[in-house]
Point group: C2
Chain length 300, copies 2
């Protein structure tokens, strides 16, 4: 199954224009089917995800699996062939590797992880359909000089730049190192997934080449962020290696810099519903490369 | 009383050379006199300061005093005459005011604060002598794009660039806004004050002009920071407006960036012992301006 880029789909989440900036209610559900399909999550956990837009799991992966994935990550980061690959993204200042995309196609260890029932089963349960991998990557926030990720909704970017019609996608971030309160852990605004923040500015051509290093276009205006933070607060997600957080594609999130000596690595997988496959971008001239936004939609 | 810049004093804390980099034990006490002079701190608190190198006080200032000082800070930050004064330091990127130095000479409200017995009395008690104000400033870390302060020991800079002979100085930082776990609050390594980290690199002329925006020279090497963090851990100091932290001049500390909408302001006062007045800099060609490092040593 591949994407029909020229398909016409109504844009219910307009963004990246000079006209419209602000906060709109979300038009779509968060949990798409409430019957019990035997997914991994208990009803209370589904309710919490629905309410907060995210759910933390203290120990999703056992220590030996985490150790294997970290060793694999170290191998990938020191692979000179991969360093020259467009799927490797470097820090703007230091040149250190910041992310490696499509990691489930690069590594059998990460390929096994995306098919793990605790991950993909949760995505199916929340989205009420079969799912495919929209994006996978490992993120590496180095110690001493790890840069921040500014506030953003992933869905805003995926809608504008990739042509994802609705926020019927769920991400999971699995910690491969400890997330401390001091080393630039994920900041998230609980409940923010209920609002769509239209972002100012037109998307420049090949925007992803700079935005994956530091995003400027596609970031919310100060007034919208202040409103959301005042309404919903900010939660910092900490936890040991092996812990995970599932989060809705439209959560407002970001992370601060990391000056501690402790680097922070995680693997990030996006499951999208097979009923929500990509069309033409809603806010960009051309879709991003398929290593960032898959245009094959084969169910996991 | 003014400083004898040409006085010869042995350098027991060498730094800023290409030869010597690493960690040395501190040669001086932290608490200088242990008899009870009737200072504000209880014996347990003195012991904690001695051990950790810092002491937090949950509510040092009453809410109405905090409100007055915040209003005064807002007035200072919007004063165009002061914005053009060399004592105002701006953020490198945005041009927003980051710090205002010598604030106790600019503002009667802040002048009253430095003479408050809860502040100056604590300094006298810990340092075992009369004290004078080596430096005062207000720091303003804006929301959305507040930059980090990298790891440093204040004493390392004051010794190298100002000619402070020994770490017989204590700082107090009073929060004028809430310090959250997410808005770039102070990070400190408890117990690190017992070690002096000699820093690589020679001090360039007029170094303060860049270092007050972002410090590069006079920052510890990665190996020393990793050793200290592994040994001592990292504590993040959070608390409401009006809370305070007293800390030894040689604590290793820093803070991450602030992407939240919540700006973070504090007033920072350094009390130095009148028995530890400045001489010629130990690691720079000329002393820094007196608005950064006072060369009048009149007791408070």
């Amino acid at each position: 199954m591949t994407g029909a880029v020229d398909e016409v789909v109504a844009d219910r989440y307009p963004t990246r224009s000079s006209v419209r900036v602000g906060i709109e209610p979300r038009h779509d559900p968060v949990v798409w089917v409430r019957d019990d399909r035997g997914g991994p999550l208990a009803g209370d956990d589904v309710d919490r995800f629905d309410c907060d837009g995210f759910l933390t799991v203290e120990s999703l992966l056992a220590p030996d699996i985490v150790a294997d994935l970290r060793a694999e990550l170290d191998r990938l980061r020191s692979d000179p062939v991969l360093a020259a690959d467009e799927r490797s993204i470097s820090e703007r200042d230091s040149g250190q590797i910041r992310s490696i995309f499509e990691v489930h196609r690069i590594s059998t260890a990460f390929a096994a992880l995306i098919a793990d029932p605790r991950l993909v089963g949760t995505a199916r349960q929340l989205l009420g359909s079969e799912v495919y991998v929209h994006q996978s990557r490992v993120n590496f926030k180095p110690g001493f000089n790890g840069r921040e990720f500014y506030w953003h909704s992933d869905f805003e970017t995926w809608h504008a730049e990739d042509g994802m019609p609705t926020p019927r996608a769920v991400s999971v971030s699995v910690a491969l190192t400890e997330n401390l309160d001091s080393n630039g852990s994920l900041l998230i605004m609980p409940g923010s997934h209920r609002w769509f923040v239209s972002c100012p500015g037109e998307t420049p051509p090949e925007h992803y080449r700079s935005s994956l290093q530091q995003q400027v276009i596609g970031t919310p205006d100060d007034a919208s962020l202040t409103h959301l933070a005042d309404q919903h607060g900010i939660r910092q997600i900490t936890g040991p290696a092996g812990s995970a957080v599932f989060f809705d594609s439209n959560c407002m999130h970001g992370s601060g810099s990391n000056i501690t000596p402790y680097s922070r690595s995680n693997v990030f997988i996006v499951y999208n519903s097979v009923e929500n496959t990509l069309v033409a971008p809603f806010g960009a001239a051309a879709p991003r490369p398929t290593f960032i936004a898959s245009r094959t939609f084969d169910p996991v």
